[in-house]
C-alpha cells in the first residue's frame, strides 16, 4: 500500500508527502481508492487504508456528494453492450457508500444520441438512488437534437441560457457550466460570452473564503487539445475565480480520472459509468476502448467528494465499480 502511495507522489521536494505541482494522475485500480484532500489550496494525497485516523477526519465531513459521468444511455457497441447494467451497478455502489451523499452531480453525456427514451431510462433508473437530488450538466451527446431543447426541458428548470446555474449547499457554492453547445470547427469546448458574463456576476458578491465547486462536461483545462479535450475560453472563467481560497473543478468527457493542481484550483475528471477511453495520445482516436472481459468494471466508477469539517478542504475519492463496497 505504501508503495502505491509513493508511486503517485511524483514530486516531493519537501519530503512531506505533498505533491504541489504538476499532474497527479489518479487512475482507478481494483480494490483500493485514492483519497485526495485539498487543504487551503494545497493538495495532499494518500492511498486509503494507510492512515485510518487521517482518513476518518477527512471522511467525517459536513458535506458529502458524488459525481458520476458519461452514462451514454443508448450505446451498445463492443466496449460495453449493456450500459444500463453498469449504470445500475453504479447506483448500487452509491447506495452502499458509508456516508450517504446529499446529492449526485452528473457531469454529462447522460444519453448517447439525445433520444427521448434514453433520457427516460436514465431518469427512471436514478430514482433508485437513496439520494433523491441529482444535478446535471449536458454533454455533447445530450444536445444533438435542436441544440439541447429536450435536455433543458428535463433538467433546465431555473437555469439560464443553454442550462447553466448555481446553488449553495452548506456554505459551498456550486456552479454548473455548459461548454458543449455552439462549438466551432477545429475547436474545443466553449463557454461563450453570455455564460462568462453570467459567471462573473454570479460569484461577484461571494467572500473569497467560500469554497467553490465548478462542474462542466468537457475539461476546463487543456488535457489534450488534439482530441478536443479542453475548453477555449476556460481561462477567462478561471480568472473570475482566482481570488477564491478553494476552487474545485469537476469534469467528465474523457472517461478516465485525471487530476491537476494549479494554485488554489484543483481539477478532477471522473470515470464513465459506460465505457473507458484511451489515455491521451495512446490510440489513434479518443473513441470507446475495449478492455479484456472481466476488466470493464475496474475502469468504470464514481467520484465521492466530502467537505472536511472545520476547513475548506474537499476530499475526493475515486471508486471503481469493482472496489469493495465496504471501503
Amino acid at each position: 500500500m505504501a508503495d502505491e502511495a509513493k508511486d503517485l507522489i511524483r514530486r516531493d521536494p519537501n519530503h512531506d508527502g505533498v505533491d504541489r505541482r504538476g499532474f497527479l494522475t489518479c487512475m482507478a485500480w481494483a480494490g483500493t481508492g485514492l483519497m485526495c484532500v485539498m487543504q487551503g489550496g494545497v493538495l495532499e494525497s494518500f492511498a486509503m487504508g494507510l492512515d485510518p485516523a487521517r482518513e476518518k477526519r477527512a471522511r467525517s465531513g459536513e458535506l458529502a456528494f458524488v459525481q458520476i459521468s458519461d452514462s451514454h444511455m443508448g450505446f451498445n457497441k463492443a466496449a460495453n453492450p449493456d450500459v444500463a447494467a453498469t449504470l445500475q451497478t453504479t447506483i448500487d455502489r452509491i447506495n452502499a457508500l458509508p456516508v450517504t451523499p446529499e446529492f449526485v452531480l452528473h457531469t454529462g453525456d447522460i444519453t448517447h444520441l439525445s433520444k427521448t427514451q434514453e433520457f427516460d431510462t436514465v431518469q427512471q433508473m436514478l430514482k433508485g438512488l437513496r439520494t433523491s437530488t441529482v444535478h446535471f450538466v449536458p454533454g455533447e451527446h445530450d444536445v444533438l437534437s435542436d441544440n439541447g431543447a429536450e435536455y433543458r426541458d428535463r433538467f433546465g428548470q431555473g437555469a439560464s441560457g443553454h442550462g447553466w446555474y448555481s446553488f449553495d449547499q452548506k456554505g459551498v457554492h456550486f456552479v454548473g457550466l455548459v461548454n458543449v453547445v455552439d462549438l466551432k470547427a477545429g475547436g474545443l469546448g466553449q463557454l461563450g460570452r453570455e455564460q462568462l458574463e453570467w459567471l462573473e456576476n454570479d460569484v461577484r458578491g461571494l467572500k473569497s473564503s467560500t469554497p467553490i465547486v465548478v462542474f462542466a462536461h468537457i475539461p476546463l483545462w487543456s488535457v489534450y487539445p488534439e482530441w478536443g479535450w479542453g475548453t477555449e475560453d476556460a481561462e477567462q472563467a478561471l480568472g473570475y475565480l482566482k481570488r477564491f481560497g478553494s476552487v474545485s473543478v469537476l469534469n467528465g468527457h474523457i472517461h478516465q480520472t485525471m487530476q491537476k493542481v494549479e494554485g488554489n484550483v484543483t481539477f478532477h475528471t471522473a470515470m464513465s459509468t459506460a465505457f473507458p477511453q484511451p489515455a491521451p495520445g495512446s490510440a489513434p482516436s479518443p473513441g470507446p476502448m475495449v478492455v479484456p472481459a472481466g476488466k470493464l468494471r475496474s475502469v468504470l466508477g464514481i467520484t465521492d467528494v466530502q467537505l472536511a469539517k472545520g476547513s475548506h478542504s474537499l476530499a475526493v475519492v475515486d471508486h471503481s465499480l469493482e472496489s469493495d463496497a465496504k471501503s
Binding site: 457497441k77 448517447h112 444520441l113 444533438l144 470547427a185 477545429g186 474545443l188 478536443g228 482516436s285
Partner: protein, 116 residues
C-alpha cells in the same frame, strides 16, 4: 453490344448538351449516371479529408465509427442529421467553391470539399 447503343447515347448526349448549354464541352452519355464520391467517417476523422469534385457530384458520407458524428458546413450550406454507426448521408454539390465542414459533436474533426 455497345455499338448498338451508341447512336441512341449520342442522341441523348446531344440533347443534354443543348439543354445544359455546355458549348464545346464533351458530355457523358446519358446512360452513365454521375459518379458518387464516398467519404468514410472512422476513428474521429473524415477520409479522404479533402476532395475535389465536379459540380453536380453527390458525396456520400458513411459513419463507420462506433460513436455518432455529423457533417456540418459552418456557412449553413449543408448539415447532416446525427449519423449513428452504419448510417450514411449524401449531398449533391451544385455550386462551385470550397466547402469546409466539421462534426459539431467532435469539432476537431474537419474536412473539405472543393467543387470545380
Amino acid at each position: 453490344m455497345r455499338r448498338a447503343f451508341v447512336p441512341i447515347a449520342m442522341l441523348a448526349g446531344i440533347a443534354s448538351l443543348l439543354l445544359a448549354g455546355n458549348h464545346g464541352r464533351m458530355v457523358r452519355a446519358a446512360a452513365d449516371p454521375p459518379a458518387k464520391v464516398s467519404i468514410s467517417i472512422d476513428n474521429f476523422s473524415f477520409t479522404p479529408n479533402s476532395i475535389t469534385v465536379a459540380a453536380g457530384t453527390t458525396v456520400v458520407w458513411t459513419n463507420q465509427d462506433d460513436v455518432p458524428h455529423n457533417v456540418t458546413n459552418p456557412s449553413k450550406e449543408f448539415k447532416s442529421p446525427t449519423l449513428d454507426t452504419g448510417e450514411r448521408w449524401e449531398f449533391t454539390f451544385k455550386k462551385t467553391g470550397t466547402f469546409d465542414y466539421y462534426c459539431t459533436i467532435h469539432p476537431q474533426m474537419t474536412g473539405k470539399v472543393i467543387v470545380q
